[in-house]
Amino acid sequence: MSTHDLIVIGAGPAGMATASKAADLGLTVAVLDEQPRAGGQVYRDVDRVAALRGDILGADYTQGATLTAGLHHQAIEHVPGATVWAIEDGFRVSYTRAGRGAQIAADRILLATGALERPMPLPGWTLPGVMTAGAGQILLKQSGVLAKSAALVGCGPLLYLIAAQMVRAGTPPVAMIETQTRSDLIEAARHVGGALRGWPYMLKGLKMLAEITRAKVPRYPGATEIRIEGTDTAEAVSFVHRGRAHRIACRTVFLHHGVVPNTQAARSLGVSHRWHAGQSCFAPRLDVWGQSDVTGVFIAGDGAGIGGAKAAELAGRLAALKVAEESGRLSTDERDRQAAPLRSAHARELAARPFLDRAYPPFAGALAPEDATVICRCEEVTAGDIRGHARLGCLGPNQAKAFSRAGMGPCQGRYCGLTVTSLLAAANGTSHDETGYYRIRPPLKPVTLGELATLEHSAPDTAE
């Protein structure tokens, strides 16, 4: 098993920035990433794609190439195509690459596992043709595959970004069925001071909206009672807008109402998390360097709380400074001196967040779905099932999991966990923190028994 000073999980902006900064400071680093090429989701496949579709995707995407370049450092071992399925004390990381099991070790580990789309359980959301907006963007970025007849449903900057990119590519969305309301915007105005400090983001947002408007994409803000219709695939989205029922035919639906930290790996290590009310999600408890309450475990990027790609990059560098100092490569004075400008830049990056979080809150209809709506896609468990199990005494999601099978499927609760916690909290009259979350255990991603069996083990005792 090879050993490094630091293992970084994930080659998105946080992971790449951490690795190159740590390597510059004299540490040996291994970067394990699931994708075949570096970039994470935001800069997915940027080295190959920037030249092909940079005009459609914009400079915010093509700039990712400077980060991927940073991985070409002799102290960095970049392991692409590596699916991590267990992280144990020590730290020993078990992963699959090209169908074979492998392990790697380090004293410190940085999790840069990024974000997931916030689950958006609506009637019909499991139909083929319904995807996340992030998926739509990945299709465009990595593969150059564009939906010819897509409705965009939900809210938030990413929805406008993908709409603008679709307009530029010549396949504008058939409609934007938006869930934010006028009162959300009024409420958000209280945070406009912070937002002004983050004015470059606001300008970009306005520019995207202008592109969408120029393309005459119909917009339906404040939509409610949204459902996706279809039998074998999505055929239409129906909803109510200003008291009137609408039905818009489409073949693809892109859902989005924000992204949330992907906490699977951190939770499997026992890192404590708490509910972030402003972002309606759980986030790990971290110090100012991104260090968790489990010694040696650092977290940077959206996995630490949603901040976006630039903030992720800065947080990654800050964590690298702390790791280098702990490893004796940097004095505390030098660490702090280098950290100061990173911290102010990080604060600037986050300035617009409270405004955006308020202006585009999660869609209430998907936070508290109707009883018949499937909330666990893997095991096909409905919201009504979970509410029923609260009546059977389930105080938390682990009990509800045992009763309902929600969270038992291959996605390990990634797309039902927050919904189950929210449903139980509402039913039991408890807070999200009191209700808790699934206990995440290996395998973080499915692994074949054949691969498991090739790793070192002791003979099990089969006595019952």
């Binding site: 291959p410 069996a453 003979a459």
Partner: protein, 366 residues
Amino acid sequence: METEYAIIGGGVVGLSVAWGLLKRGLTVTVLDGDDGSFRASRGNFGLVWVQSKGMNQPRYARWSQQSAAIWAEFAEELGHNTGQPVPLEQKGGYDLHFSEATLEATVAKYNDLKTKLDGDYPFEVLGHNALRKEEPQIGPKVVGAILHHQDGHANPLKLLKSLAADVRRMGGRVLTGKTVTDVTKPDGFRLACADGTTVGAGKVVLSAGLGAAALGPKLAFRAPVRPQRGQVLITEKLPKLINRPSLIARQVDEGGIQIGATNEEVGTDDRVTQPGLSGLAAEAIAAYPALARAQLVRSWGALRVLSPDGLPIYQESAEFPGAYLVTCHSGITLAAAHARLLPDWLEATKAAPDLEVFSETRFAVS
């Protein structure tokens, strides 16, 4: 008195006892823990199992047989009452062997036990070829198996859910999120919880699994139970691959293959480990080579509740009559006995089963 019976522990053991008492028209309050409690009820292997039980204590073998024999009607009744079937299959189970020597040694022990049970121990030995007819996926390393016809398996989570539903339907009061911190007997029993809740009860059943170790002494029980970790694996849902369960693997009613289990003395550490998972995977593949391609989707560590000899403890407190310790490792196998037979023992009726050999006095220092 608020309730005739207070049951400390809302797992399969406590709820089975509560269910049986409620059926007799008694009033019952169950005090259950929270989402983070150690719960063998949701971590177990789901066998309704007879073979290998009580090799040194025929009464335990008999008790397991008694429970297995009435399990089907118990499951049927629960399913009928709640509208949620409790899947159960009792068409026999295997003890798989990778060596002739272990197979022969086990058969010899089974024959001894069979004599002590007056011949009521229906098993047969299958050589590799005979086994292959029953289990086409069995691997070449398996030399044979003991097929015991009283064995089977159930869906333990659906059992737990149905019990939780039916206990409530019958009027049982279930208090959740409770940690019982003290039990006193000024007159009747008085139970105090960490959150300030108190419950007055005529009788108390301590069926709190590992929690009994701390609470037992307050009722003058020794309650010598310890945790033993078992790591368990479950694969993606697969087409039918395994017909009958074994201690190595079984195919659950939802389609996944459940693989178990390690036996580890690691205190209350209930994590899984890569070496543990790998060892179980290797053994399962040796038994069923096709499993090499199956994806592991979940694994967990659960803590067995073990007495020093591994057998159940049924004990009324000498100092506090009306307080009972009920604890066992095989809560699923014994669920039917606990629901249908144990109430007679608690109520000291003429039909009470003889559970003397399960008294904790057997652990007295001599």
